[in-house]
Amino acid sequence: MSFISYLVNGISLGSVYAIIALGYTMVYGIAKMLNFAHGDVIMIGAYVVLTAMASAGVSPVVAVLLAVVFCTVLGMLIERVAYKPLRNAASPLAVLITAIGVSYLLQNVALLVFGANTKSFTSVVPIPPLVLAGGNLTISGETIMTIGACIVIMVGLTLFIQKSKAGQAMRAVSEDKGAAQLMGINVNGTIALTFAIGSALAAIAGVLLCSAYPTLTPYTGAMPGIKAFVAAVFGGIGSIPGAMIGGILLGVIEIFGKAYISSQMADAIVFGVLIVVLLVKPAGILGKNIQEKV
C-alpha cells in the first residue's frame, strides 16, 4: 500500500510542478526567455493568500482570487519594466541575467516585508480526505484538489490555445514574431497576455503547493520553480502536454527517490534526471528538435 500512497503523493507534487511548468513553457515558447522569477511569483501568491486570510479575514475563495489578480498584475508589470526593454538586446544573456535579478528582488522584498521566519500556511482546501482500502490508503483533500486543478487547467489551456483567437495569436507569435506582426497581430500584447496567464497559474500553484506543504518562507518558490523548469525541459520546452507529463514524472521520481533512496538526495536525483535528459534527448519527451538556420 505504501507504494500506491507514494505514487499518489508523487502525482500530486508532480501536478503542482506541471502547473508551474506550464507557465515556464508558455513564456519560453513565446518570448524565448527563461523567466527565472516565475518561482518567486509562486511565493508572492502564497503570501498574498496568507495575508488576506490572516489579516483581512476574507474567505479562502476570495483570497485565492485576490492572489491570482495580484500575481497577474505583478507578472505583467515585471514583463513591462524588466523584460520588454531587453527584447531586442544584442546578447541573449541580457534578459536571462535581468530575470535572475528580478527573482532575487522578489525574494528580498518578501524578506523585508514578511520577515525571514517560516510562516505556517493554513490549507485552503475544503475537501475531506478520502479513505480507501479499509483505511490502509488515505488520499488527502489537497491531493485530490491539486490533481483536479491540474487536469482542469491543462484542458482549459489546451482549448484556449487551440480554439480562441488570442491562443491562435500566441501560436503565431511563438512560430515567427515578424510574420505575426505583419499579419496584424499585436505582438507586445500577446507576450503580455502570456505573462499574465503564466503568473495567474503561478498564483494557483503557490496556493496548492503551500496547502500541501504548509510552510512559507521567502525562498519557498525558488526550488519548486527550478524543478518545474527541469520538468518543462524534461517534457520538451514549449509543449503544453510535455510540461504536464514532465511535471508528473518528475514529481513521482522525486517522491520515490525520497522514499526508496535517500531523503537528502532527492534534489540531487531530480537534477541528475535533468542532466541525463539533456544528454540523451535534449529536446525532451515531446519537444521538437529545431535545427538552427543561418
Partner: protein, 355 residues
C-alpha cells in the same frame, strides 16, 4: 604593432592596479588603520576576485551563463581541504602542502567543468545556466551527506552517519557530513591570495588575447559563422569553461584554507553565492576583467563599511543587477547613450553586431 601595445598597456594597468591595492592594504594593516573585521575580509576578498574574474571568462568571453560557480568552488574547497587534512602529518611543510592542495583543488574543479561541459555546451545559453545551477545544488547535497573517516585500515566512506563508517576506535573522521571538515590548516594569507589573483589574471588575460581566445570570442559573437570557418566550437567552449571552473576551484582552495570549519551551506556554496559573483561581473562590466576586480572589491567592502545597510544589501544587489542590465543592454538605452556620449566603445561594438 600599435594595437599590441595597447593590449599590453591595458593588461599592465590591471596588474599594477592589483599590486597597488595590495600595497595600500598591507600599509593599512601595518600602520593599524584597518579594523580587525576588515582584515578578516582580505582573504575571502581574494577568493571573490578570482571567482569574479573566472566567471567573467565564462559570461563575458565565452558568452554562456554559469550559475554553478559556487559549485566548482565547493569542489575545489572540499577536495583541497580533505587533502590538506590527510597530509598534515605526511607533508609538514605548509608551502608545499598548500601548493599541492591548490593543484589538486584546481584540477578537480576543472575535471568537473569538463564533465558538466561535455553534455551541456552543445546546448544553448538557458540550458547551460540551469544545468550549472543543478550541478551546484547536487555538489552541495553530496557534501552534506558524505562521511569519510581514516584509520589504520585506510579510508572508510559512508553516506549515513559516523557510526556506519565502521572504523577502528582510534580512527579519525575527516569529512563529517553536514558538519563538514574541521581543522583545515589555515594556510591562506592575503599575500598568497594576491599572488594567486595575479596568476589568474595572467592566465585569463593571456588566454583572451591568444589565438584560442579570439576563437572563443568568435563563437560568442556568431557560433555558426565561427563553425563555418573551421573553428572547433565544442573544443574551445570546453576549454574556456574548464579553465573558468578550475580557477573557481582555486578560489575554493583559498576560501577553505581560511576557515576553521568548512561546511557546505547555502550561503557560501549555494545559489546565492553564484548570484553574488554574477553581480560582481555585471556591475564591473560583462567582458571587462578589470571591472570585475573593482566591482568585487567595492561590493565586498562597502556593505561592511555601511553596517546600517546590511538588511538591504541583497535588495540593493538585485536592483543594481536589473538597473545595470537595462542600462547597458536595452537597445533604447544604447541609442540614447550613443546620442550623448562617444566614449562607450564596447557597447558600440555590441550595437554593430546587432546590425
Amino acid at each position: 604593432m600599435k594595437k599590441m601595445n595597447k593590449i599590453t598597456k591595458s593588461n599592465l594597468i590591471t596588474y599594477v592596479m592589483v599590486i597597488v591595492i595590495y600595497i595600500a592594504a598591507q600599509a593599512m594593516v601595518m600602520t593599524g588603520n584597518m579594523s580587525s573585521l576588515m582584515q578578516g575580509l582580505l582573504v575571502p576578498l581574494c577568493a571573490y576576485v578570482i571567482l569574479a574574474v573566472s566567471l567573467n571568462l565564462t559570461v563575458g568571453i565565452l558568452g554562456e551563463l554559469s550559475l554553478g560557480h559556487a559549485g566548482f568552488m565547493c569542489v575545489g574547497a572540499f577536495i583541497s581541504a580533505f587533502f590538506s587534512k590527510c597530509m598534515m602529518d605526511v607533508i609538514p611543510m605548509a608551502g608545499l602542502r598548500y601548493f599541492l592542495a591548490l593543484v589538486i583543488g584546481a584540477a578537480a574543479a576543472g575535471v568537473c567543468g569538463i564533465l558538466i561541459g561535455i553534455p551541456v555546451l552543445r546546448l544553448k545559453g538557458d540550458y547551460l545556466a540551469i544545468v550549472t545551477l543543478a550541478f551546484g545544488e547536487i555538489i552541495k547535497n553530496i557534501m552534506n551527506i558524505l562521511f569519510i573517516g581514516k584509520d589504520a585500515n585506510g579510508f572508510h566512506f559512508s553516506t549515513k552517519d559516523v557510526m556506519s563508517l565502521g572504523m577502528e576506535p582510534e580512527g579519525k573522521v575527516i569529512i563529517n557530513g553536514p558538519q563538514g571538515i574541521t581543522g583545515t590548516p589555515k594556510d591562506s594569507t592575503f599575500t598568497i591570495g594576491v599572488i594567486l589573483i595575479l596568476l589568474t589574471l595572467f592566465i585569463v588575460l593571456n588566454l583572451i588575447h591568444s589565438r584560442s581566445g579570439r576563437a572563443i570570442m568568435s563563437i560568442r559573437d556568431n557560433r555558426i559563422a565561427a563553425e563555418s570557418i573551421g573553428i572547433n566550437v565544442t573544443k574551445y567552449k570546453l576549454m574556456a569553461f574548464s579553465i573558468s571552473a578550475a580557477l573557481a576551484g582555486v578560489a575554493g582552495v583559498i576560501y577553505a584554507h581560511n576557515l576553521a570549519t568548512l561546511t557546505a551551506q547555502p550561503k557560501n556554496f549555494g545559489y546565492n553565492m553564484s548570484i553574488m559573483i554574477l553581480v560582481f561581473v555585471v556591475l564591473g562590466g560583462i567582458g571587462n576583467i578589470r571591472g570585475s576586480i573593482i566591482a568585487a572589491i567595492v561590493l565586498t567592502l562597502l556593505p561592511e563599511l555601511l553596517r546600517g545597510l546590511s538588511d538591504y544589501r541583497m535588495l540593493i544587489y538585485a536592483v543594481v543587477l536589473i538597473a545595470m542590465m537595462l542600462f547597458n543592454w536595452s537597445p533604447k538605452a544604447i541609442e540614447w547613450r550613443e546620442k550623448y556620449a562617444e566614449k562607450f566603445k564596447f557597447r558600440k561594438k555590441a550595437k554593430a553586431e546587432e546590425v
